[in-house]
Symmetry: D2
Subunit: 344 residues, 4 copies
């Protein structure tokens, strides 16, 4: 018997990815698709401007869109693909009414009592759930996943923490799908790079500190790390590429870094890839078009490891921004919560 | 009366840019176009696969291609757009015979007695010409300009030297034209980024040390600077974009950096732009398609200045890689040599 | 002394092109820039999301945006870059108040008493102006130019009329700028072709009949011609390419067609190109990126002429859709009206 | 037990597609990969510049490349992805030695005794095999599939033949992969369309006449049909789109055409799609990126049906050019030959 799940913001870019990942999920079954007023009552297959594959999956096509109201939601888990400002208002209404909200929105990520989780990185941060429910007096709760760019980065930083990581410099080359749909106008990005993504650098510079921090029984004590990010939009459909310089508090050898990357263990969950980090040795990989679908879009791919100087290493990391970086991240979080008993 | 100029490798991407910049130059007149064996004797307009504008300039269309042999070269200055391995053999033959070779090739850039020059950065390095002629016993000489990516970067580093610059980290997003023609296959780069350009990072990490070094009467003493580069090819036609982190030996304010950038003076030469560095204040500039033609492709455009921490500043720099970064760089060098009396 | 001109819809894609073409025009001077409510009172340079070049021309940057109201318009000519539904309401208000409206909007193109003009094709249709003023009792009047795709096509059809043209089949590959800004989402068009442009085929199939028709003293008698169009959006910034099959009522030789194309005479007007139709003989031209700027974007370029069978000829035509196909078309119409005495 | 198959030209674009389609085929097993001299003896996984997915399938990675010589070929069927000039020489050598050659090359397509086959269109043309073997005295034989652009077109023309089809006008928008690898330079096609593909229009205008012709016991009597094609390269990775006008010898209704399309039956073969022609009703489909993978790249997708005039219908057709249009076409031919008993 599968758990019933709902999607908030089901017609947008990330909403479509949720539908795609959940349409045929072994544990979950889509029962409710929620969207803004003007779409309520209409057939999902008619309303959505479907762009992630050739056709809307057959078993959701006929679902009638529901309003974003807990009363109309027949589900155990609510996945949220809402824009941050809407999420701020809507998600607590669901949590209050007892729903488990697995959110990709940024609205609550940095709230002290809200878990910001990547299952392979900080599963124990789910313990914040009890703190949250106690403090807020909610029957349900909100669990969030990080920003798409943060996720790829932090998955590679996690195994480096034990080597004495202290400073990170990262330049990103981010895909168009990260901006949603319609998102970036073609006239703005054809034959061009836009060296700016609103709010992105701030997220990449702060979210990792929480993710890599320690739960002290009541809150997360942030990691002691300095991060500087420069974020750029490039004419690529899917797949965020990041050039990363990591500086340690001691001399570090390439082999230590490589081993650390390969030591990150996959979880025994349906959406988990067989390898969390794939290290490639070719001189010109990873590349978005060739590597974004590795592990069904849930692996991150690392390459071009190079020792810059004694304590500084450079590498490239790539991940699928709407799968591992968004919808897949939330789904993996929900699977972890089921496994850990947070969802009955 | 204009000086006669020749172009080595006139049919390639950079060769075409030389033709374009020189077809209507106030000081220079194209008299000789040299290419590989199979093209010799053929009309330039028939042979070249012209892709830099709608048509080959009228006054060079009928020039009959000459072999790459000093005997067939009727010119005062020889511009070289040769690939490095060919340049290695051919350029000295011309210098030996008394020609001034203004080369965009990498073959001789790092030779101890060969000037590597950006006119606004290190014009005094032309003094190496005398050393070169003396050491090699040549009647002519070779003067080189740096790699395209190096040029944009070093133009911005020069004014920062006095602020105590000591470390540079740079991630580049480089245009397709930098790979020449046919260059990058469309199937390799559409909907993609390639995080590797052969030999590029090495050039960007070493050439600036020579450019920012001091001439001690006999050779260049390299600047004391550490540079780490990560180079990426993006689906952009022209214009290299670079995200740069500069670290100083003291706390530096943004205003100092901005003033330093704007203090770099243009030269009084035909190809010199009115502003060497244009600092833009919009949150999302510079962009390749919008800014690469600033100053007819000879300005570099800087934006997104940000203080990362006390001694670290981040900014974005952009320049036209085949103009300021290649053909235009050689032409400006030649103009400087004329003005300084190295060419009669 | 230059005539004062105003632009309706000055911040959109075509509006920006009007500004660009008029900022330095020998006969016209921009005095008024009109836009929607929320922009009124704001500086043009601050409000416009300028994407057609690096910077807004200096002499219009400081113009304060005016409401779309004849009372606030200090101009002899009003250029309209309005969307059709807005144009429908706004343009007559200006014509009624005595303004000459040179419109790129589709709203009035097919009205019986409104001239639809390409200066080199049907300048005598301006005689409809008197009919219009009489019928409507307006002090001013509206003159329109055709749809961007229609213009390139009809410029090539005009000289073929005398050869006995009776059927036209055209498949278009249209640029992104034709959809305005933000227009086509990058996620919709990257690595893609969209075989549909709303309303476009209807325009291309009907407007030419009026353009190639005869003025009978009171109205236009449409040309006797059958046109079928299939319109497609391709990932190209500027420049509409069209594959055209023309069928005549008799056997026609290629040389007749070529001569007919080259016989179309340019006008003696500031925006007129030296050659109206440029016929290229290379096997692979015209191409949007290489040929769209021919004649400063006002020439149309034809190539690949081929005899299909006795009475059928195939060729390719290309033109710059926002210059010859939009803003430049309206400006040329205005210049013609000045020359013909319709504007004092 | 699976049949052993070999691939000629295994490292090119189409060669890679053969490898991909055959690596996991229920009836066939790759045993031999043949390539040009310089690659012989090397590991396929090391030699191929693999660009069709993230990694070379595991079970072919270690195959050592063989020379293109029947003596080194351990296989029942030889798939050929050779360029035409090489195919001309090499394919007969294999046929002579008793191999079944299923070729995607154009070299023998129009030879009188060589079957040019699309299984759903003209399976009975395989009867030419006996004629070929008899005439040439070969133990084996060559069977070919059409040009990629021809295939999509003819699959839609076949069911229209009974409605009295007599004239076809087609404008194509063809993908980059159709030109092989490295193929089209990125600098040639970014922000561009190239209205020319060498030899393509001739193929599209002649191959269908053979495909739609009748086998008279000895040869194919070509269909009585006039075709005119205009072929264009667009910046799309995979998927050829074609705008087609079909003219009948009588008035034809849209519904007849739609029914005809849907009447084309799929074959019971492993690579056969469930639907040969998918008719879509949305106003803006088919699109290359969304529809090229329909039926695993083996369906063709039709849309935008429109009645132009009484006897003329217009529609759009799309197919995956390297699957249905190349490697998949040869594989389907081989499957048909196995089923029909031509291969033991």
């Amino acid at each position: 018997m599968r758990l019933k799940v709902a999607i908030l913001g089901a017609t947008g870019m990330v909403g479509q990815k949720f539908v795609q990942l959940l349409a045929d999920h072994p544990w979950f079954e889509i029962t409710t698709l929620m969207a803004s007023e003007r779409r309520v009552g209409k057939r999902y297959g008619d309303e959505v401007e479907w762009i992630v594959s050739s056709d809307v999956p057959e078993n959701v096509r006929d679902i009638e869109m529901a309003p974003m109201d807990p009363k109309h939601c027949d589900a155990d888990i609510v996945f949220s693909a809402l824009p941050s400002d809407v999420a701020k208002k809507v998600e607590p209404e669901f949590a209050k009414e007892g729903f488990v909200v697995a959110s990709n929105a940024s609205a609550f990520r940095m709230e002290e009592d809200v878990p910001l989780v990547i299952p392979e990185v900080n599963p124990d941060h789910l313990k914040l759930i009890d703190v949250q429910k106690r403090k807020r007096g909610w029957d349900g709760f909100i669990v969030t996943n990080p920003n798409c760019t943060t996720i790829m980065l932090v998955i590679t930083l996690k195994p480096l923490m034990d080597l004495g990581l202290r400073r990170v410099t990262v330049a990103t080359m981010q895909a168009l799908s990260g901006a949603g749909y319609p998102g970036v106008p073609s006239l703005a990005i054809m034959d061009n790079v836009i060296p700016f993504i609103k709010g992105e650098e701030e997220k990449v510079e702060t979210e990792p500190l929480k993710l890599l921090g320690k739960f002290d029984g009541e809150k997360i004590v942030p990691a002691n790390l300095k991060i500087s990010a420069s974020c750029h939009r490039v004419p690529v459909i899917d797949g965020h590429l990041e050039a990363v310089w990591v500086e340690f508090d001691r001399n570090v050898e390439l082999e230590e870094v490589r081993k650390a990357f390969e030591s990150l263990k996959p979880l025994d969950l349906p959406t988990s890839p067989k390898k969390v980090i794939i290290v490639r040795n070719e001189p010109d990989r990873p590349q978005p078009r060739l590597d974004r679908d590795a592990g069904n879009g849930m692996s991150v791919v690392v390459g071009r490891l190079k020792k810059v100087e004694g304590s500084v290493i450079r590498y490239i990391v790539l991940g699928h921004n709407t799968v591992r970086g968004a919808a897949g991240a939330s789904v993996l979080n929900a699977e972890l919560m089921v496994k850990e008993g947070y969802i009955k």
